[in-house]
Structure formats: C-alpha cells, structure tokens
C-alpha cells in the first residue's frame, strides 16, 4: 500500500451516510466499553483531554498532578492491542480523542492516515535535547516526509525471557531450544498478535519486515508449525506466563522480552532475564519495540494535549511511566536515567540495553503482516 493510498483512504470526507454509520458504530463501541470521551469524573475541570493509551500511561501518579496543575479532566480509554486501537480511531473515534499512546509503528501510520497531527520537532526541541541520542530529532521511525507523528515514550526489546535458576543464558543465545525435543512442552509462546511471529521468522532466516514472497511465507509457516509442536502453551495472559516462568513449568517465554520481565525483576525476581539472541547467518535476531504518543487530528484545540505530551516525556514523569505496577519499561529520556534507583536500573536491565539495541531490528508494521497472522491462525487451528 502506497502513502497515496493511505491518504486516499483518509476519513476526512464530507458527511455521508457511510461516515455517519461509522461514527455511530464508534459511538456504540464507546458506550459498550463505558468510556464515553468527554464524560469525565472530574466534571468541575475547565478543560478536558480524551486519551487513548496502553496501561501504565493512565497511572494516577502521572495523570493527577497534570489534572490538578492545569485544571483539566483526563478521560482514559485503555487499549489492549495497537491494531485494534488504530482501527477504532480510523472508524471515526478520532473525532473524540486528543491524545494517543500506542506502538510506534501505529503512531507513525496515524500521521499520513490523517488520524494524528504532524508535530513540529522545533516545538519539542527542549524535550528532544533530553533524549538519548538514538531518539533525538529527526527520529526516523516516527518520521513521514520529514514530519514527525509523535514523540517516543517507552521502549524495550523482544527476545527469550529466561529463568536463570533453570537455564543458563548461554542456552538462549539462539532460538534453537524452541525447536529442540529436549524442551518439548517447556516453551510458552505469548499470544500477542505479531510479536511471537517475528522472532520465529528471523530464526528461519526470513526478514519479516520486508515484502515477502510465497516461498518466504512458506518458511514462516514451517517455523511456526515446528514451534507449535514443541510448545506447552500459547498464552495471552501475562500473569499466567510469568507464573509458569517462575515455577519452572515454562522454561522460556517467546514473543515477550522486557515487557514481561522488568516488573518481575523489580519485585525481587532478578534471576529472570530477557536477552537478545546472537545474529544468525548475519541476521539480527532481536527486536526493539517502542511506544509513542501522538496528538489526534481533529477540530479540538491541541494546546492542552500538546502540553501533556511535553509533560509525559519529562524526566520526572518518564520515571513514573517506566516503573508501573503491571510492567516496567525503558524510557527515551536520558536525564531520567539519573532519577532511577539502582534496583530500578537493574530491573530494567539498563546495563544490557545498548547491546540489545545493537543486535535488534526496529519493530515496524510488516508489509505481509496479515498473511503471517493468517498462517498463525491456520496453524493454531490445527493444534
């Protein structure tokens, strides 16, 4: 799909029966989830922000100070998958939101799709100056035709998550044990959309981030089938996966990485580690994921949302965003590093983060993602 195609399919059109239906559909979704934007608990506030985000961004320790100091009420709509969040906004819900925090590739797509505003990097120069050099403007993964679609907010890597009480880290310098009969019924694949597919494809020698031909898709099918054969469970629930990892019924989690490691490490399970396998036949095996926050494009005033965007990437708030109850993740703000405790730094595996970065692909939306998800679905049905 070309960028022109994307622009052609923008939701900005004169009001038609179809767009009205889409709007009604989006309204029905909001009503069903009980999160009607614009209806906040803080009815006395002068302004309001409707915020679609992943968990963690909605922490009271993050939202409350901003609400109080700016006399603003923030209504949150939590998303559980980035693609679903994108689809919801694209179906018309973008009219009601001010901010969105989602996976970087989806934020990057929202600019050209007309869902989020392009931001002027110069307006955020102060924020960029505090970031690690890798995330400073122009930050390529969030750029479209020289314009930025948002600011990076959290990141980490995808690789084997290992309990070192049971396995040596050296064992997982490759994804080979996933297919080793010695590990039969000891592997847990995380049922998180495309996340478990990508590392398996990389192990098969296929770069899933390029346009794939039938032969390469067949290779991906084979590697998914082989992994399923050895897998004990395909689990979507993080707590179940973490419990199995701790008690040893799962020897390794595939498709997760730091997202399912850091909170365990922060609560004392520092023997749990996520690593990035070594390159195989010249192909990097790790994946860097990143979340970003963008400003929604609609006729609402973006001033207060823009202020929140600057607020959420500031060092003090970035620390709160990094360490949440459910997950702990790295943040792009370099100045924030000094504010972490030694335990938090250890939990986030900060001493390893640039090694992981150097040995990883940056996660983007794969051109053949739907083909790969269809293969996953077919092979899952055959289990």
């Amino acid at each position: 799909m070309t960028d022109k195609d994307i622009r052609d399919s923008l939701p900005f059109r004169p009001l038609s029966r179809r767009s009205l239906l889409k709007g009604l559909g989006a309204g029905a979704v909001f009503s069903a989830t009980g999160n009607m934007p614009g209806f906040s608990g803080n009815a006395q506030a002068g302004q309001s922000i409707n915020y679609m985000c992943w968990e963690g961004y909605n922490s009271p320790s993050i939202l409350d100070p901003f609400q109080k100091s700016n006399d603003v009420a923030i209504s949150v709509d939590l998303i559980t998958d980035s693609a679903g969040g994108f689809a919801k906004l694209a179906a018309g819900a973008f009219r009601d939101f001010d901010l969105v925090s989602s996976d970087c590739p989806w934020i990057a797509r929202m600019g050209p799709a007309g869902i989020s505003r392009f931001i002027n990097d110069a307006d955020f120069a102060e924020q960029y100056a505090e970031f690690y050099p890798q995330f400073r403007a122009p930050f390529a993964p969030l750029q479209f035709e020289g314009k930025a679609t948002g600011l990076p907010t959290r990141w980490g890597w995808v690789g084997p998550t290992v309990n070192t009480k049971f396995d040596k880290l050296e064992t997982w310098k490759s994804y080979a044990p996933v297919f080793d009969p010695a590990y039969r019924d000891k592997i847990c694949l995380l049922d998180w959309g495309d996340w478990p597919i990508m590392p398996l494809a990389l192990y098969a020698g296929v770069d899933p981030y390029k346009k794939l031909d039938d032969k390469e898709l067949e290779e991906i099918r084979k590697v998914i089938r082989a992994a399923f054969k050895n897998t004990r469970a395909i689990v979507a629930d993080l707590a179940t996966a973490q419990k199995g990892l701790i008690d040893g019924s799962f020897r390794c989690l595939i498709g997760g990485g730091t997202y399912c490691t850091s909170s365990l490490r922060n609560t004392g399970h520092d023997y749990i580690q996520s690593i990035v396998p070594e390159p195989r036949n010249g192909m990097k095996q790790g994946i860097i994921w990143m979340e970003a926050t963008g400003l929604i494009a609609n006729d609402r005033d973006p001033a207060i949302a823009s202020k929140f965007l600057k607020y959420i990437v500031s060092p003090e708030v970035a620390v709160k965003l990094a360490i949440t109850e459910a997950t702990c993740n790295l943040v792009p703000n370099q100045k924030a590093e000094a504010l972490f405790t030694a335990q938090q730094k250890s939990a986030l595996q900060m001493d390893y983060m640039w090694t992981a970065w150097d040995n990883s692909h940056f996660h983007t939306i794969a051109p053949n993602i739907d083909d790969m998800l269809a293969i996953w679905q077919q092979e899952l049905a055959a289990r």
Partner: protein
Amino acid sequence: MRIEHKSWRDPLLIGATVPLALIMILFFVVPLIMTGILTFQSSRYYRLAWTWDLTIWRDVFGHSHYWVVMLRTLGMSLACVVLSVLIAYPVAYGLATRLGSLRHHVTILITFAFLTDTVLKTFGWILVLDQNGVLNWGLSHLGFEPGAVNILFTPTATLIGMVYNLAVYPIFTLYLSLARIDRDLQLAAYDAGASRFRTFFEVTLPLSRPGLYAGAALVFVLSLGAFLEPKVMGGGNAPMASELINQSFSTRVNWPLGAALTLVLIVIGSASLALSAALTLRRRGGEQGRLSDVG
C-alpha cells in the same frame, strides 16, 4: 382456568408487544443485519474497505481450518452438555428430594458459586491443575509421582472449565422441574409394583424433561461462545470458535472475516438447536401415539 383467545389485530395486544418488538429489532435484528452487511466488505491493511463482494465468504468456504475449529466447538459443546447434565441431574435430584432442611443452605452455596466472577473461577483452576498446583501437591502426598496429572493447557482442561462454569444452569432448571413433580405420581408407581429404577425412568425422568431440555439448551448455547476457558485453560491447544472470531476482529483487525465467522457460528448453533427440537417433538409425538394406542 379460562383461556382468552385474542386476535393479532387487537390494538391492546399490539400496543403491549410493540416495545419488546422494537427492542428486539433495535438490539438483535439490526446488529445481525449489520453483521451480515459487514461480511460482504473486505479488510485492507487494517482498514475496512467497502467493496461489496464475496471475498470473505470465499475465504471462509475455501479454508478448512475455519471448519475444523467450528466442528471442534460443536463437539466440545455437546460434550459439555452431556457432562453438565450428568453432573447436574443427581445434584438437582438430591436438592429436590433428599436434602430436606439442608436444601436451602446448599442452594445458597450453589448460588454463591454461580455469582462468583467467572474470570476468577477460571484462573483459579490454573492453581489447581498446574504441574505445581494443588491437585498434584495432594497427589504427591498420596504417593504419586510429582506432576502426575498434566492436563492444564489441554482440551480436557478446557472441558473441565466449561463444565464447571456451566453445570449450574441445568442444576437450577432441573431442580425447578423436579420440585414441581407431584410426589403422589411416584408413590402410585411404587403401589403399582414398579421398582425405584423403573419409577425413575417412567415417571420422574419424563416429568423432568422440560428442565432437562432447558438446561441442556442453555449449556449448549453458552458453550458455543466459550472464550475464557479455551483461552486460559486450553493454552492454545484445540482453540474454539470464539477465539477464532476474537483473533479475526482484534488481532487481524479483519472485521468482515470476524463477522462471517460469527454468522457461521450462529447458524451452526441455531441449526443444532432446531434439529434437537425437531427430534424431541418427533419422539414426543411417537410416545403420545403409543399412549393413545394403549388407551
């Protein structure tokens, strides 16, 4: 009791049915039509494309894995119905005839179990069935090998979860049927020389059929839509239809495909219920014919 026959042209009757009819049209018929319309569109790179073609239906009928999952769902649902009824009948029978003053206490306990959050109960089973769970801990103290029972993340675990969460429905429907049976009919059977066994099969069981059918239908319909149990306890082994539909809607963001699979599941469920209703009516007609012959 005098039964008053009313015409459908009666304005009072029409007035009384209009609110319900409107609710049904608005919240059942319209969404169903919209779901049907969605199946003739397609999904292009996570966006709905209004194409008005048969692409999705070709996809559904052209890939066997969708039907494998649908048939598996049907099989699991039927197994769940059988197991639930087999468990529910003795429980309901005991409640209705044997527990005496304890009946209300047991009913309250069952109601509490029923009202406890299903998510909580299902995740609780993980702690029981896990390799290092309560069950294996107990068995190891009885001399069994550690991890002797390894059924978590299998279809068996899914079925256990489904039966556990759904068996309560036939318990209540059967209890209501059994409690309404005239005790004199059973005593008359004993007086006529029937054994307990024969009395049960010729008096109690036939008279409790309404509760049995209602409970079975409830379990069947709810089993078809079971999502939590296969997802949490099945661990991706032998996934069921609702998981397939959820994947299509949320992970693949292919709403037309999800809508088509939803309709397929509705048709399979409705057809199964219609078939079982037809067989039941046919059987009942045969029994009534035999009785009139005897008379």
